[in-house]
């Protein structure tokens, strides 16, 4: 499903965020990405939906070869990948409802489907009562949940979540974990970067520990933690 071979990513400012990374993730897996701050987790994740392109190496996601991918094809890749961004990336001038709906309009769904599904996912994250609000009228955790709702709305084949519980209280965080588990059980690949050791240790899945831009540990059902 996702295959990275010998990947390097050097940012224009000279920092090498990914430094020879190899990994392969199958359809339907649930993978935690852990590692210290600045290790390259977000960069690794950004290469899966092609926000960043590797300086060297190959990245394959399903039938897409991301390094040679034509700019025109990128949107179609992204429709198969739902992303919860670390900084949410909500559209400031759209309401909560419209933010989620937008991701579905993009795919060309019809209004009825959109209406129904949007309310459904917003209900799942516990925000059905805030559909009319704008992002800047929400608390940090509420914004994060809108981002989650948007990412799952299209039932993507891959769901990427960069620190999806960073602004959530434990109870809400567990609710979100239940949701992700359920989605995973329906066959969606889930890749989740997290600092939440509680979650990683209690809900065991494959753990990728990233350090200095490399996979330092790749362990099925592993614990949170990394050498440092």
């Amino acid at each position: 499903m996702i295959k990275m071979t010998n990947v390097y990513k050097k940012y224009p400012n000279g920092i090498t965020a990914i430094n020879g990374l190899d990994v392969s993730i199958d359809q339907g897996e649930f993978v935690y990405v852990v590692g210290p701050s600045g290790a390259g987790k977000s960069t690794f994740i950004k290469m899966i939906y092609r926000e960043e392109v590797p300086t060297k190496g190959t990245v394959k996601v399903g039938e897409f070869d991301l390094v040679g991918l034509k700019a025109k094809k990128v949107p179609y890749l992204r429709r198969h990948v739902g992303v919860v961004y670390q900084d949410f990336k909500l559209l400031p001038r759209l309401t909560v409802f419209e933010n989620v709906a937008y991701a579905m309009q993009v795919v060309g769904k019809n209004s009825k489907q959109i209406q129904k599904r949007t309310l459904e996912v917003l209900d799942l994250v516990g925000l059905k009562h805030k559909v009319r609000m704008f992002p800047n009228e929400l608390s940090g955790g509420e914004q994060q949940r809108v981002a989650i709702a948007r990412a799952i709305a299209n039932m993507p084949r891959v769901l990427i979540a960069d620190e999806p519980t960073g602004n959530l209280d434990p109870e809400t965080a567990w609710g979100i974990m239940d949701l992700l588990e359920e989605i995973n059980n329906q066959g969606t690949t889930i890749i989740m970067a997290t600092h939440n050791s509680d979650i990683v240790n209690r809900v065991r899945h494959r753990v990728l520990a990233v350090e200095n831009g490399r996979i330092a540990r790749d362990q099925e059902g592993g614990e949170y933690g990394y050498e440092s």
């Binding site: 939906y49 926000e51 700019a71 025109k72 990128v74 949107p75 179609y76 992204r78 429709r79 992303v83 961004y85 990336k89 909500l90 559209l91 400031p92 001038r93 937008y102 991701a103 309009q105 993009v106 795919v107 060309g108 019809n110 948007r150």
Partner: protein
């Protein structure tokens, strides 16, 4: 594009216009002020040009009738003159009329020559269709019998034509420069407003929108801003021109001079302003978002 999708784009752009509130107002007023300026100047310059043409056309060819001409000869001559291609109008001015003019300009002393002492000739005054034809008409008129002399201001008139030609060229250059300026200023304003929304565009791209899905609402929004922005100067200029036209024409009544008729001039101007607004608004915004679409 499906009709439904198109509808959605229009709805999105209207929503955006509303929610951008202040920014929309700023962009619309920039378009309005720019087009008001350009529209007013075009109206003024085109009318100056019209006046220049009127002045030129006011140059006439004077054909002095031989003293020996009988009434029939004179009528035949008039017919001949009227038959010259570029001649629009032939007016007769008797020697008495001529003398009164001289008296008016040079003083009563010439009153001495009143009546039979009048040394002047009867004159046919020709107006040509195009000022450029003046010299040619004069040459042709000279060939007819019973023509004592032909006169059209010669060097003076040529000089006038030259000056008017310059006026007309300068006016044309100014109008073109004005239109370019308007295009630049409007496109620049649109660009700045879109620049302030680059993160939005980047997010749309990240969420999987194709370039055209993002572009359409921006394009429509730009066109609407341009259209609304153009409506204001179009209304103002039309009102002022229509009111002003009647007054000025009244003032100029009886002269050779006149303003450009609202139909078609004002209509053309209105179409031009609306076209600049809508086209630059839409093309400008569509070009401006291009660089933010590369995510």
């Amino acid at each position: 594009m499906k009709a439904k999708t198109f509808w959605r784009h229009i709805k999105e752009s209207l929503k955006s216009i509303k929610r951008n509130g202040w920014m929309t107002v700023a962009a619309v007023s920039a378009v309005a002020v720019t087009l008001l300026l350009v529209g007013s100047f075009i109206a003024i310059l085109m009318n100056v040009n019209k006046l220049a043409t009127d002045v030129e056309e006011d140059v006439s060819v004077r054909v002095y009738i031989d003293l020996a001409a009988e009434e029939e000869d004179q009528e035949a001559l008039q017919q001949n003159l009227e038959d010259i291609d570029d001649v629009e109008q032939v007016v007769f001015s008797s020697r008495d009329d001529e003398l009164s003019q001289v008296i008016g300009s040079y003083g009563d002393e010439f009153g001495l020559f009143d009546g039979d002492d009048n040394p002047l000739h009867d004159v046919f005054i020709l107006n040509t269709a195009a000022p450029e034809a003046t010299a040619d008409v004069a040459d042709q008129a000279e060939e007819f019998s019973y023509v004592a002399d032909v006169n059209y201001g010669g060097a003076t008139a040529d000089r006038l034509f030259e000056v008017m030609g310059t006026v007309r060229n300068v006016g044309g250059i100014i109008i073109v420069a004005l239109i370019f300026t308007a295009v630049f200023l409007i496109a620049n304003t649109i660009r700045i407003t879109i620049f302030s929304r680059r993160t939005e565009i980047e997010i749309m791209k990240l969420v999987g929108a194709t370039n055209w899905f993002i572009r359409w609402p921006f394009l429509i929004e730009g066109a609407l801003i341009g259209f609304i922005g153009a409506l204001i100067p179009v209304t103002a200029i039309s009102y002022v021109y229509l009111t002003g036209f009647d007054r000025v024409m009244e003032f100029l009544y009886g002269t050779y001079f006149g303003l450009l008729e609202p139909n078609p001039f004002l209509i053309q101007l209105v179409v031009l302003l609306l076209a600049i607004g809508v086209l630059i608004g839409s093309i400008g915004s569509s070009l401006s978002i291009r660089k933010f679409l590369k995510v």
